[in-house]
């Protein structure tokens, strides 16, 4: 299973960052052609991203391109660059409905044929940034077999909800986080929590990471390279958690060998959900 804890935003018009983002070892790097690039630099950024996609330094990192919406004058041009450049994933911003995904998929299928890529190779992430998007999250998540994740984007969503970010328990994001996460899990795809914009506030960032992790998000969208390591450390299981997980798996395997359906460990029943949780801890330990 591919680890998707950290998706690092890299502005598409910034060669200094395009040339170095791999150093921080994010699970996914997201070359941004949307909000990070001014309208008059879209053409130049597209070419930078097209060539950056083939840099050997990104060979082992999942490469995502955030395109502009298809109803903008840039969307289809961005998409052509992403598909021709062999991006692994296209991230669609401001996804409001399943129809947005189906329209995008039709264009990708056409471009894959035109550029000689296997049909279905380009995967999709939908960013949910509105009340409509949150309400439609499940139909968005299941709109295409290409979908690998949905990501909640907080800023536009909160503007749409006529509120703004608070610090602490963030009640304003409670429903959207729960809805997006449930939709992702029901669709068996990954879920990314919102980006944290104050890059100098490690404490606030880590507080938010804990909320995301505890809720069950796979990871977060990140706006600064220094957040990558902080996030990976926070998502890494502790030694105690790893040891407990190993013991759970060993106990389950022993029970299986002995033909027992249920086994207990330290007085607690080890059943399939407990085993699954232990496997998750071990897989997080492997990538940490």
């Amino acid at each position: 299973m591919k680890a998707r804890r950290s998706m690092l935003f890299v502005p598409g018009d910034n060669p200094a960052m395009l040339s170095t983002a791999f150093v921080y070892k994010p699970d996914s790097v997201m070359f941004d052609l949307e909000d990070a690039v001014s309208p008059r630099e879209k053409d130049s950024a597209r070419l930078l991203v097209f060539h950056a996609l083939s840099l050997a330094a990104y060979k082992d990192i999942e490469r995502v391109v955030r395109i502009n919406r298809l109803d903008s004058e840039y969307g289809l041009k961005d998409l052509a660059v992403a598909v021709k450049g062999r991006a692994h994933v296209v991230r669609l911003p401001k996804t409001d409905s399943a129809e947005d995904i189906r329209e995008l998929e039709a264009h990708i299928t056409r471009l894959e044929k035109e550029y000689g890529r296997p049909t279905g190779e380009t995967k999709l992430i939908a960013a949910i940034e509105s009340a409509s998007g949150v309400v439609n999250a499940l139909t968005i998540a299941t709109a295409s077999p290409r979908m690998i994740a949905i990501a909640l984007a907080g800023f536009d969503y909160l503007v749409d909800m006529q509120t703004r970010r608070s610090s602490g328990s963030e009640p304003e994001l409670f429903y959207a986080r729960a809805a997006v996460l449930h939709s992702a899990r029901a669709a068996r795809i990954d879920a990314f929590d919102v980006a944290y914009g104050d890059v100098n506030d490690d404490e606030g960032f880590l507080r938010e990471v804990q909320i995301a992790k505890q809720l069950g998000f796979n990871g977060k969208s990140l706006v600064h390279p220094r957040q990558v390591e902080l996030l990976h450390r926070a998502y890494a299981p502790t030694q105690t958690e790893l040891e407990r997980a190993k013991r759970v798996i060993a106990a389950a395997e022993a029970a299986h060998r002995n033909g027992l359906g249920v086994v207990s460990l330290d007085g607690k029943m080890i059943d399939p959900p407990v085993i699954h949780e232990a496997e998750l801890v071990l897989s997080r330990g492997q990538v940490a």
């Binding site: 910034n14 060669p15 200094a16 395009l18 040339s19 170095t20 053409d43 130049s44 597209r46 070419l47 930078l48 097209f50 060539h51 950056a52 083939s54 840099l55 041009k77 052509a80 660059v81 021709k84 550029y115």
Partner: protein, 98 residues
């Protein structure tokens, strides 16, 4: 591709380059490269610029490059962007760009 107007692409930020193109009245192709690393990488930068212009079939015009330590891919992208702007061309011909 014919450069029909002055155009600029890129910046003077570190790891980037600024490319200026303009039509040439002399019907020749003149390329000027300035770089902080001209001694170490001058030949390589010129090679990438020349190859990029050749692929775009640019045979006349003036091209001035102010390099700030850009990698080859950025040189390629910024030269392409400046030429496409200078040629009033929005179409991406992948054969010429790859």
């Amino acid at each position: 591709m014919k450069i029909v107007k002055e155009a600029i692409a890129g910046t003077l930020e570190s790891s980037d380059l600024l490319v200026k193109v303009a039509p040439s009245s002399a019907r020749t192709l003149d390329v000027t490269i300035r770089s902080e690393v001209i001694k170490q990488f001058g030949k390589q930068i010129r090679r990438v610029v020349t190859e990029t212009l050749n692929k775009l079939e640019v045979s006349e015009g003036t091209v001035v490059i102010e390099d700030k330590g850009a990698l080859d891919y950025a040189v390629q992208a910024r030269v392409q962007a400046a030429v496409l702007r200078g040629a009033n061309s929005e179409e991406l011909n992948w054969e010429q760009l790859s």
